[in-house]
């Protein structure tokens, strides 16, 4: 090939998703791992192996129970608010939801503790509420954003209310709904370590105790799995957004 030859690579019509964010994350992870091993912290951290395994189970239970409850109940509540017979109350309710969202999660935990005492239950309830609100809001907003003409066409063709919800409203709102779920779950895994403060257990136990004892290895033994979990959950819901939303209304697949 001569020096001035230029190879033109024609891009496919649908551009491939960028792997850039994952490459950056992987680089950072490798750098941290190298630093940990080099400084000898890694060997110290391995001493907490048993605690980590036990607490991860607890942590996943907090996130899993509160998150799945929130997804189910949040979508149900959002759909319910979007129904015509709720139109009179929906906007007001969403205002309340917005206000409740602005309450810091730490305050929600404290409030739950004063209502339900300490332990896993108040922690799960507080996490559930914190996760619930963005899901309700986005479900409602997503369904409301479906153009009235589209619903009108569906009705005019003889779809019943159930068909319209399942085949027109939900598929067209799904992208926004899942964006809400993704944000909500980020809040959930981000808050879960604090559950330790009201006796909820989880990886927060290692983080907070490590801070108190000025024991970096202990702290990192809690912090690193927490961070990995957050990345994994975000990746999972990002994938859900990519694959579950119909291609015709999926901005990720029509770029």
């Amino acid at each position: 090939m001569r020096r001035h030859d230029v190879v033109v690579v024609k891009r496919a019509r649908t551009p491939r998703r960028s792997l850039m964010p994952y490459a950056v994350l992987a680089t950072i992870a490798v750098a941290i791992a190298v630093a940990l091993v080099a400084s000898g912290l890694w060997t110290d951290m391995l001493r907490y192996r048993k605690d980590v395994v036990y607490l991860i189970k607890q942590h996943l239970m907090l996130v899993g129970i509160s998150g799945s409850l929130a997804i189910v109940s949040g979508i149900a509540a959002g759909v319910w608010l979007s129904r015509p017979w709720m139109a009179r109350y929906a906007e007001g309710t969403i205002q309340v939801v917005n206000m409740a969202t602005s309450v810091p999660t730490l305050a929600k935990l404290a409030l739950m503790m004063s209502l339900l005492g300490i332990g896993a239950l108040p922690a799960i309830v507080a996490l559930w509420i914190a996760t619930l609100l963005p899901i309700i809001r986005n479900t409602y907003a997503g369904i409301r954003a479906v153009p009235a003409e589209m619903v009108d066409a569906a009705q005019g063709m003889g779809m019943g209310p159930h068909d319209i919800l399942r085949r027109v409203e939900l598929p067209n709102a799904l992208f926004v709904m899942l964006a809400g779920v993704r944000t909500a779950m980020a809040v959930n895994v981000g808050t879960a370590p604090i559950a330790f403060l009201i006796g909820g257990g989880g990886l927060g136990e290692l983080i907070f105790t490590g801070i108190d004892l000025q024991e970096p290895a202990m702290m990192l033994a809690g912090a690193i799995p927490t961070a990995l979990l957050a990345v994994a959950v975000d990746f999972l819901f990002g994938q859900a957004q990519y694959w579950l939303v119909p291609r015709g209304v999926n901005p990720l697949r029509n770029a």
Binding site: A154, P246, V249
Partner: protein, 321 residues
């Protein structure tokens, strides 16, 4: 086929009751196209939507094929009526094939039958099934989307088609093309069509009968030629425009006006076809001083002549009635 009896819709508002549609009565025969025409806010769309009960009438009746639609389940009723609105009505989450298959699916057809029917309709509407069946509405042009809209309405072969400004969002060139295609299809399908439009030219082109609305009331119900020749009142006259005689030319065929050939033919003469409409004749009369034109069929045989006097008496005859 479709009969409206004193159909009325009254809305309550802060300023008191507003009558959007006021005792509309008319009948559309099977296989005919009726255009509901009028300025915006005249009640034509509300009238259309009362036929498939998207709007519940305050009083009055709609009969389809002799059956009072009050007695039918609205959802079941709508599945027997094709409904076309502007292109936004396609579901963007479904492919073209799935969009067309919506009503057949509601009716419980088999997947195989739905697929066959969708592809048949795409072909009928000049869209290559291999190319368009799996596309999404977002990947279509306005004209293509509107064709899919029509295909979707025809999917379950309903006897009645309701169309609410179906071609309103298209540019003039595309609109003419799709109107022509629709007219050609309608010649073999013979659906009973109610078509809302605010465009007099579209109405004259598409309609067997025009129902012209004036603030909720039916101002005139007549075939296009009769409406253009004899507007019922000032409002209709001003809506159809001062060039209404020119608009009539489109709907009159040479064959209706031509007289028997008188033998002598100058081969250099310009001719018209019996199937042409009078717009071509008028253009030739304006461009030349000819008193008459030969009418030539597809094989080049002279089958008659059309004279200025005959055209004038055809256009004037209705006025003198």
């Amino acid at each position: 086929m479709i009969r409206l009896e004193a159909l009325t819709k009254t809305y309550r508002s802060a300023q008191g009751d507003v009558t959007a549609v006021d005792e509309i009565s008319f009948e559309v025969e099977a296989g005919q196209t009726c255009v509901l025409l009028g300025p915006s806010g005249c009640g034509k769309t509300t009238t259309l939507r009362m036929i498939n009960r998207l709007v519940v009438p305050t009083s009055g009746k709609v009969f389809i094929g002799g059956v009072d639609t009050d007695t039918m389940n609205p959802v079941a009723l709508r599945r027997t009526i094709g409904y076309v609105i502007q292109q936004i009505g396609l579901f963007p989450n479904m492919t073209v094939g799935e969009n067309i298959g919506v009503v057949p699916r509601l009716l419980g057809w088999s997947a195989e039958r739905i697929r066959k029917r969708s592809q048949e309709l795409l072909a009928m509407l000049a869209l290559d099934p291999a190319q368009f069946y799996d596309r999404y509405p977002g990947e279509l042009s306005g004209g293509q989307a509107q064709r899919v809209g029509v295909a979707r309405a025809l999917a379950a072969d309903p006897p009645v088609l309701l169309m609410d400004e179906p071609f309103g969002a298209l540019d003039p060139v595309n609109r003419e093309v799709i109107q022509d295609e629709f007219l050609r299809m309608q010649q073999s399908l013979r659906k009973t069509v109610l078509f809302v439009s605010h465009d007099i030219d579209e109405a004259v082109k598409m309609a067997d009968r025009i129902a012209i609305f004036q603030s909720g009331r039916l101002a005139q119900y007549a075939p296009p030629d009769a409406m253009l020749a004899q507007p019922a009142n000032e409002f209709v006259a001003s809506f159809v425009g001062s060039d209404r005689t020119l608009k009539r030319l489109r709907r009159i065929r040479v064959a209706e006006v031509m007289t028997a050939a008188d033998g002598a033919v100058d081969t250099r003469e310009l001719g018209v076809r019996p199937s042409d409409d009078l717009r071509r004749v008028a253009a030739l009369f304006l461009e030349t001083a000819a008193e008459s034109l030969p009418c030539i069929d597809g094989d080049g045989h002279i089958v008659g002549r059309i004279t200025r006097t005959a055209v004038a008496s055809r256009l004037g005859a209705q006025l003198r009635k």
